[in-house]
Symmetry: C2
Subunit: 256 residues, 2 copies
């Protein structure tokens, strides 16, 4: 089972949106895929149209109220399941993060899923704090969305430094799949400049070929509560970007 | 001294951009203002054009290497100072957050600044974890940017729940200044829909009149490393939005 951590220090760069649409594209390609929502804000389930806090998930597994096997949610695609963050009281997020990051907790949960899934995507909260660190310790791979905006460019180096350290000290198998450029807008000079800097600064192979353009259709999808690929009978052309991203990722996972 | 916590659960909504430009507008209005960067990614200093990790700041105060009085950075405006997050090693962010959130640490630092500043803005990392909780415990007021996008709308209620709990249990003086709509784009239906929902869902007075439009000039400002207001001899019309926001905020602080 491959466990892909989707992380970035910068907030609002497309981690959840990419996790969701990539997960769906991997499922459509025939891989048993699980989306695991590690962010207490719960926007993965929101983007799937699941009502607010309705479903038990990780929070209930942490307290022992539920067994992980009983809280895996089905989606419209039989190969795609979701493990929601669960009912996290917004006033006790710090406590939830404390419980989630206890030694061995996340690894233990993933261990129970080993036979059921081929690929697990971990949707992380923004930042390089405890939750992201633990997720990197438990993962086999890491994918980092980079928003095509100047402030985000600086923080990508910080995540890569953390990945190197965790590989050296805690998780020798942790492999960087790469950086995926997100919210790229060729009409905006600042966005173009970020993309050019990225392509020249990082050696070949680290930047994935697939680029996610900035597009209003993502906002409409989250209003409607359904990921891009499922949105219409004829999914928008943008949905093909995620099929391509899935291919890029699979090539690097060597699971073809 | 008023201490305003700028916080949101959702990432990438404009916390740093608003802290910076609001801080500058408050300073121009004659108030001795300090920007305090609580987010380890350090994008406040980056937006001010200060080179990466060059300056000591909060991290050095926490280890005792520096006294807080020696690490306050001057800016081009004599009334505006910055306390940077300091040299935080990206591989030990969890440790930095642990030290910052020790009981009484933040309140102690703010206590030392009491006579020097009229207003302190706390630029928080995304999320409702330990850093934001401690900042709310130490603050007198809270301002929450809300990005005019559907996913962000849901998370604003979660922050308000945390604010209520912290006021009830830890900090009775904590007052909500309000919610400021950010990245509003009247051309995008999803953005308009969020704004309309916001104005109807929240009672009068909670939503500030000032609205920050989505505009490329913010990206250019962060490329150039200078806040909007300072960018040109004739600041862009957008800069006036922050003068208006400063007035809105000052009215609610009763410091006029
Ligand atoms: N390519 C895109 N074009 C336009 N909008 C996008 C795109 N990708 C995501 N969005 C929107 O941008 C916002 C941020 O995206 P998202 O929530 O996926 O980022 P995130 O990194 O998971 O944020 P957080 O740090 O809060 O977890 C959302 O409103 C989403 O709908
Ligand atoms: N009104 C705006 N219009 C367009 N772009 C904006 C606007 N405000 C901020 N930005 C840009 O959007 C991105 C996110 O803004 P910013 O970094 O201020 O948000 P944040 O909430 O502090 O993010 P984080 O959660 O990472 O701390 C940055 O690239 C910034 O330059
Ligand atoms: Mg997210
Ligand atoms: Mg910020």
């Amino acid at each position: 089972m491959h466990v892909i951590c989707v992380a970035s220090q910068k907030g609002g760069v497309g981690k959840t949106t990419i996790s969701l649409n990539l997960g769906l594209a991997l499922a459509r390609a025939g891989h048993r895929t699980l989306l695991m929502e590690l962010d207490a804000q719960g926007s993965l389930c929101l983007s799937l149209g699941l009502p607010d806090r309705a479903r038990p998930g990780i929070a209930e597994v942490l307290t022992g109220a539920e067994h992980i096997g009983n809280v895996l949610l089905r989606t419209r695609d039989p190969q795609l399941h979701v493990l929601s963050v669960g009912r996290v009281d917004p006033t006790t997020v710090a406590g939830f993060e404390e419980a989630l990051t206890r030694t061995g907790m996340l690894t233990g949960m993933l261990g129970k899923l080993e036979s059921e899934f081929d690929i697990v995507l971990l949707d992380c909260p923004a930042g390089l704090g405890k939750v992201t660190s633990r997720a990197l310790e438990a993962a086999t791979h890491v994918l980092s969305p980079l928003q095509a905006e100047p402030l985000a460019l600086r923080s990508v180096g910080q995540l890569l430094a953390l990945v190197d350290r965790i590989r050296a000290e805690k998780n020798p198998r942790l492999t960087l799949i790469g950086i995926v450029l997100s919210m790229f807008d060729r009409q905006t000079p600042a966005s173009l400049e970020v993309a050019e800097t990225l392509w020249t600064r990082f050696p070949g192979g680290i930047i994935l070929d697939s680029v996610i353009p900035r597009d209003e259709v993502f906002l409409e999808a989250s209003l409607r509560g359904s990921p891009l690929l499922l949105m219409q009978k004829r999914p928008p052309p943008l949905a093909r970007v995620f099929d391509q991203l899935a291919n890029d990722v699979l090539d690097r996972l060597d699971t073809q």
